[in-house]
């Protein structure tokens, strides 16, 4: 089985290679190659084919594309993928949520896994078995009803407001930047707040009390949503996210 590791850090490719026994030998059941970015992956796939990909979420400041772009490139070539990430990355949880929403990767493989666990996960994928990790259920979209990501960013218009919120903290500025009316911004703040609270509670383990205080004290939702948008601005500014949302809207007609 040929495995590609899409990660800006060469060390993670070598960890996977060592785990699969291909670091110093090419005779084993697995061969491992690496790509440092989605563009590098696309170039690699022009000459080589793979049966599985390990996909990181972020490729450092030198690369603009995120793991969503890598997952799309792999999905276009029907190469199964697993998301390879570090759990305590607060500003990346939405990427993982989107990865499972748009591309349905096979598993969520934390980088903290031991080499034996990585090997066991790849063996399971090779044997066609499901790889269940404790975190997976948090990110997998529900079988019925709107997913958490859909409730957070249902349309390209909402994405524009999130982007504006990542820069501005005033209603008027946000409305002007996103090219929407104040009423539309107010509706957004009302409708998206619960989804934001759920992301923080369910994915980032923020206590519910701290979040509901805002509602009970009738404080403006603008400040916490601005802070949230700032933390996740890389996600809201991701071009692949916008592309997927546009495609989804086009499919809906």
């Amino acid at each position: 089985m040929r495995v590609v590791v899409v990660d800006d850090m060469l060390a993670w490719e070598e960890i996977v290679a060592t785990s699969l026994g291909s670091m110093s030998s090419t005779d084993g059941p697995y061969q491992v190659a690496g790509a440092r970015s989605p563009a590098d992956l696309a170039a690699l796939l022009c000459t080589e084919s793979f049966e599985l990909a390990f996909v990181d979420i972020n490729y450092g400041k030198r690369v603009r594309d995120s793991g969503l772009a890598a997952l799309r490139i792999l999905a276009e070539r029907q190469i199964p993928a697993v998301v390879f990430w570090n759990k305590p990355e607060d500003n990346r949880v939405l990427f993982v949520l989107a990865a499972f929403q748009f591309f349905r990767p096979l598993a969520l493989v934390p980088k903290t896994m031991s080499r034996a666990q990585i090997r066991a996960a790849v063996d399971a994928v090779a044997a066609g078995r499901a790889v269940e990790t404790p975190e997976l259920e948090r990110y997998r979209p529900p079988a019925a009803g709107p997913s958490l990501l859909t409730r957070l960013v249902p349309s390209v218009g909402d994405l524009m407001i999130w982007r504006a919120l990542s820069v501005f903290a005033g209603r008027t500025e946000v409305a002007r930047e996103a090219h929407f009316s104040l009423r539309r911004v107010d509706n957004f703040l009302r409708d998206r707040f619960d989804a934001m609270v759920e992301v923080q509670h369910r994915l980032l383990d923020v206590p519910m009390d701290a979040l509901t205080d805002v509602l009970e004290s009738k404080q403006s939702r603008l400040a916490p949503m601005h802070a949230f948008a700032q933390t996740h601005q890389a996600f809201f500014r991701d071009e692949e996210l916008a592309r997927q949302l546009r495609e989804r809207e086009r499919d809906r007609g």
Binding site: A17, D40, A43, L44, K61, N91
Partner: protein
């Protein structure tokens, strides 16, 4: 909002106040310099009006304009460090220099402002008011009074928007704060008093012009408001940029520092942690910490710049002890070699390993070179470390082959750092070779690493240009 976010917001809010003051200092420096030149031009034009004055009036006119000229010269000195230094050399000028230096950035009255104010008050009386000079053509008189009021307008504008009003460390006194909004009104009154046509010559200037001139200080209110809006906006921008910088720094720290530390931590918890691997991983972590520090300090090239061996060399040499730094030299041509991300990370692994081996062998000089060359149809990256130590044969006690290499190719065993390094470069079609230089009659070891260039998307090729 989490605790971290609250703390961050607090820090940024603190920065906002100083950002307003610091922005006003930067803006005022430019505005002050431009204003000085503008006022110097206006004053020069006023000196020109002396050409139309009767000879009897010239001493008075020259005296009035000389006071203003002294004021503008002091204003220039006020804004120039070099001029202050030069003035300081004059005997007895020390107190004046100290006064001018210490009134910068504070809302207070200074000598240059007083001299300019007095000079222009006297200059205005030359053209209008109670006793203007006689014999001036009405057009020149009107021009003179407009020039004088324009001068005053600009000089006082500098006072209205002085950075001292925004200085939190040395805030203006309560009296000065009350005085600030009254400046336009007081100045309007003073101008009206000075230009009021109380003489036949004064009445030669059209009343509409005098009214406009007297009312012109009221324009300070919108100018002040606009300046404040710009300052507040810049503080907001600083806040946003700080938040963005914190976010980016966190991401960089995470991606560059945490990964090698997690791998190191995982390795330590394996059944048989290998010292060589711990050494390699800790080197990677230290190098990455230094790379992040250089990046956050603005020393490293910007992220859009290609990655070069030069930056890797600088990062590496800045973390080795000073005594080792002095023993290492890099080939000048190597520094410009552009490396793709994978090649850069391989080089980041090879360089510390080979160089520290050479340093530990007791060499007095370690030379490092990096280059790219086409070998057997594909492009390879080469790194070579040559030292003048005892040589690999003497330091390992192993017999050498005829060509100076070791029969087992590399010293140590599967657990050694060189073997691990060799595994890394072999995955990319390369190898590590050690040659004892005694076979060529020299002293020391030549350690050479090469691997196939990993630049699928042409990053390094594009940056290096056609000749690269």
């Amino acid at each position: 909002m989490g605790t971290g976010e609250t703390a961050r917001a607090g820090t940024i809010a603190d920065n906002g106040g100083s950002a307003v003051y610091e922005t006003s200092v930067v803006a005022a420096a430019t505005l002050w310099s431009a204003g000085c030149w503008l006022r110097a031009g206006l004053l020069a034009a006023m000196w020109c009006t002396l050409c139309w004055m009767p000879a009897a009036e010239l001493p008075r006119a020259a005296f009035c304009l000389a006071v203003a000229t002294a004021g503008i010269l002091l204003a220039f000195v006020h804004s120039s460090e070099r001029a202050l230094d030069r003035l300081d050399r004059f005997p007895g000028a020390g107190r004046l220099v100290a006064h001018l230096s210490t009134t910068q950035g504070r809302a207070t009255v200074d000598a240059s402002g007083l001299a300019e104010g007095l000079g222009m008050a006297l200059a205005t009386t030359l053209y209008a008011g109670i006793a203007p000079v006689h014999g001036l053509p009405p057009a020149v008189r009107t021009a003179g009074v407009v020039l004088a009021i324009a001068y005053i307008w600009d000089a006082v504008l500098q006072a209205v928007i002085d950075p001292g009003w925004y200085n939190r460390a040395q805030p203006p006194s309560r009296g000065m704060r009350i005085f600030r909004p009254t400046i336009p009104v007081i100045l309007a009154g003073l101008i009206a008093a000075f230009v009021w046509p109380l003489s036949d010559e004064g009445r030669e200037v059209a009343p509409a012009v005098l009214v406009l001139l007297a009312g012109s200080p009221l324009l300070y209110f919108p100018a002040w408001a606009a300046f404040d809006v710009l300052l507040r906006s810049s503080a907001v921008q600083v806040r946003r940029a700080s938040a963005q910088a914190c976010e980016n720094a966190g991401t960089d720290m995470h991606s560059l520092v945490k990964s090698p530390l997690i791998i190191l931590h995982q390795h330590i918890h394996t059944r048989q942690p290998e010292l060589a691997e711990i050494r390699r991983l800790s080197w990677a972590a230290i190098l990455n910490v230094e790379a992040v520090r250089r990046d956050l300090s603005g020393i490293a090239p910007p992220p859009e710049a290609p990655q070069t061996f030069d930056e890797l060399w600088r990062t590496f040499t800045s973390i080795v002890p000073f005594t080792d730094q002095r023993r290492m030299i890099a080939d000048a041509g190597s520094l410009a070699v552009v490396l793709s991300p994978t090649d850069c990370q391989l080089a980041q692994r090879v360089l510390p390993d080979l160089a520290t081996n050479a340093l530990r062998s007791g060499a007095s000089e370690v030379s490092v070179a990096c280059w790219k060359a086409v070998d057997v149809g594909s492009r390879h990256v080469h790194i070579e470390v040559v030292d003048d130590g005892p040589g690999i044969g003497a330091s390992t006690g192993l017999p050498l082959a005829v060509d100076g290499t070791l029969p087992q190719r590399l010293p140590g065993g599967p657990g050694s750092s060189l073997w691990a390094l060799d595994d890394s470069v072999r995955r990319h079609g390369g190898a590590i070779t050690l040659v004892d230089r005694s076979v060529t009659g020299e002293r020391g070891t030549r350690a050479h690493a090469r691997w196939q260039e990993q630049d699928r998307i042409g990053l390094a090729t594009a940056a290096a240009g056609p000749a690269g």
